[in-house]
Amino acid sequence: MKRDWLILIALTGWALALPHYGSDFAVSLALSCLMYAALASSWSLFCGATRYLSLATSAFFGIGAYTSALSLEHVPFAVAIALGAGVAALVALVMGAAVLHLRGTYFAVLTFGMTELIRHAISYWEKKVSGTVGRVLTVVPERDTVYLAVLALAVLALATAIVVRRSRFGLALAGIGADEQRAQTLGVDTRRVKTAGFALTAAFAGAVGAAMSVRWTYIDPVTVFNPFIGFQTVLIALIGGAATLWGPVVAALVFSLLAETLRLQLPQLYMMALGLLLILCVLYLPGGLASLRLPRRRGAAR
């Protein structure tokens, strides 16, 4: 655990220094890497431990982005991020009450369905009620402010993951993942634990969405509720190793590099590389990239 904190501090220092010497390109690459590190780590915190595969990340991301777009003219950036996290968590509480008693494919499909429902509801509201097709963000913070905000969220997500893994809450989540009914007969209030975990994941996705929305200066439902954000988060977490702490971070780094180098020249190749990596991981590395060096961890895990 101490080692985890040291790694986190070292990585944070490196990321903090980057804007001072890196090019614009390097900073934008790092930003996308940090965004996916935050999304995938917070996703794994709940979904990796409990094995509830949620595809709702893009819903929470979009809700956060919209919340921040609507509130940024009235409140400071930090407050807009907190609001984004809060609204996303609230939506997750409602959504969780409806779908968290389902498992496996049913849960995954329903979370995806609800994401689409939210996206279409907001599109409809934009068209019919407010009469707009999107939002132009007039007040936007500087590049470095956005970078620092997303960095702070990624660090917070990892710090939360480190703390949760050692807590009763984390043990309850792991118990639910291993055998939900057994955990319940041993006294875990599974409903409450799952709802809290789902809301925590959603809060991070909402906060990241709120922080990232200002990068686009113009947002509409198609951009911020893009299901690809949700899929990519899940892929990164699974390929990295959703049960581990650092797997998702490593995978986020690999993906951002792949995305930036391949997507511009050969977009199809990027998607194919993604798909191929996922298939290989599911077939040969069910524990993710992190399991390549796991033998040592197993004993230390508890």
Binding site: L171, A178, G187, D189, T190, R302
Partner: protein, 247 residues
């Protein structure tokens, strides 16, 4: 104990569509009783257990723990009221160590509940069930009979008042069955635990319990001491006759 039984089922019924698995069973269990439940395959024993531990919601009737109504409550509330259970096929957390499996219950239902010295912590519980040497092994790596003991250890970690044991002696050797029976007696004698024990091997069970419930096609057809029950004509006809002849 404010005059209420530790656990009381009133006309408890569990229906799966058209099948009545448990049919209006009423029974009360007092502190420190050692009760066996027998019945042919499909008599509804395990379903009755599932209903008693909140794992399966009853479709009719009511359940009271020390006078408090628990009907329809989620399973964790049963655990917090001191009702613990084992599962027929051991459901241990395979990736966690044996000690951590026991620790799980201590962290949740057992947390803050009054505990005797025997149930103080992981070490004392492992000592009690006889697995101190396996403490650091992953639970998936110990033998099936050790996993059965661990199941009991996990249940004990919730610091229960009542323990539901579902076929804990199935598949064990003669000597292991005897040791298991000794352990169960010890739990009752030293922890004042009420134990309700389902076992398919009737003769083994009848040797060790003080009271037997007989289920047949979901109904309770007898409830008494082992010697009373084996002389009950309905029981002999429904079950014991051919079963005893087999053994």
């Amino acid at each position: 104990m404010n005059g209420h039984p530790l656990l009381e089922a009133r006309s408890l019924t569990v229906r799966f569509g058209g099948l009545v698995a448990v049919d209006a069973v009423s029974a009360a269990f007092a502190p420190a009783e050692l009760v066996g439940i027998i019945g042919p395959n499909g008599a509804g024993k395990t379903t009755f257990f599932n209903a008693l531990s909140g794992v399966q919601a009853a479709t009719g009737g009511a359940l009271f723990a020390q006078g408090q109504c628990l009907t329809g409550a989620p399973a964790h509330r049963y655990a917090r009221h001191g009702i613990a259970r084992s599962f027929q096929t051991p459901r241990v957390f395979g990736e966690l160590s044996v000690a951590a499996n026991v620790g799980f219950g201590l962290q949740f239902a057992g947390r803050g509940r009054p505990a005797s010295a025997l149930l103080k912590d992981e070490t004392s519980i492992l000592q009690l069930i006889g697995l101190p040497a396996q403490a650091t092994l992953p639970a998936a790596a110990v033998t099936p009979s050790q996993q059965r003991l661990l199941e009991i250890g996990m249940a004990l970690a919730t610091r229960p008042k009542l323990l539901l044991l579902d076929e804990v002696a199935a598949g064990l050797t003669e000597a292991e069955v005897e040791a298991m029976a000794q352990l169960i007696r010890r739990l009752r004698d030293e922890l004042d635990l009420t134990v309700i024990w389902i076992e398919h091997a009737v003769t083994t069970l009848l040797r060790h319990v003080e009271r037997v419930l007989v289920l047949h096609q979901g109904r309770k057809i007898a409830d008494g001491t082992p010697s009373e029950v084996v002389r009950n004509p309905e029981v002999v006809e429904a079950y014991l006759g051919d079963e005893m002849a087999d053994e």
